[in-house]
Symmetry: C2
Subunit: 141 residues, 2 copies
């Protein structure tokens, strides 16, 4: 099942309407290799498909975020589809500075150690986000 199919199924399941603008944003984010800002999505619509109002894009992105279908990438100021089905737990991003592509993953052991390091400093960590930059397999050579 593709990201778009999954996202649309979730919308239906939660009682949200499946509209043309929502499909368009979902497909744009689903196809993107890296993070997309609301502006990026707007420009892409302007060229290819049918025009989408900028305000609508913001609203759709907010909805998708609240459903954990996309995540905000802080260091890039954009959003990416979330391919991890588990809704809980922390997520980590690998962001290629060569091609801008982005990979998300989870690692329970790292999460635990991160929390443990915080605990030693008297801090009770509840949630954390990590963003790594570097070079992906294709850009290393």
């Amino acid at each position: 099942m593709s990201f778009a199919e999954h996202a649309i199924a979730v919308l239906r399941e939660k009682g949200y309407k499946v509209t043309r603008p929502r499909r368009q944003v979902i497909e744009a984010i689903g196809r993107a290799e890296g993070a997309m800002s609301p502006g990026d999505i707007g420009k892409m619509m302007g060229e290819g498909g049918r025009h989408l109002d900028q305000v609508t894009i913001y609203r759709v992105i907010n909805l998708l975020c609240s459903l954990n279908l996309v995540h905000r990438v802080f260091s890039q100021g954009g959003y990416v589809r979330c391919d991890l089905l588990e809704e809980e737990g922390c997520h980590r991003f690998l962001i290629c500075r060569g091609c801008g592509s982005l990979q998300e993953f989870r690692d329970e052991a790292l999460c635990r150690q991160e929390s443990e390091a915080a605990r030693k400093l008297g801090f009770r960590a509840e949630h954390h986000v990590t963003e790594s930059s570097g070079l992906c397999r294709d850009c290393r050579d």
Copy 2:
């Protein structure tokens, strides 16, 4: 040596002029417990000390960032002083959702494991940032 003293020494050393606005911003960030946005700093100046132009605040913050004297806190949209003297390597933030206070630390072992996890996915990580939210010692009770 306080943060402000250290920051001013670095400015001098790198050939930047030590002006009143720069002192003011450095002292504001140095005194703050948590992250401060450019707007926060502007408001604080309006009340206490002498007024500072918003544009100047942006420019001073950019300078301090480029010198690694302050770091951007993504999840908060603000900036904090960096207390770690080593300029290299990754940094981690503990951000209290109770009082908003912020603590920065380094952990070599975590850094290595983070990189190792990336490597297993074919990614060569060069740098990473982690922000954890939770409760600090004082807010846990």
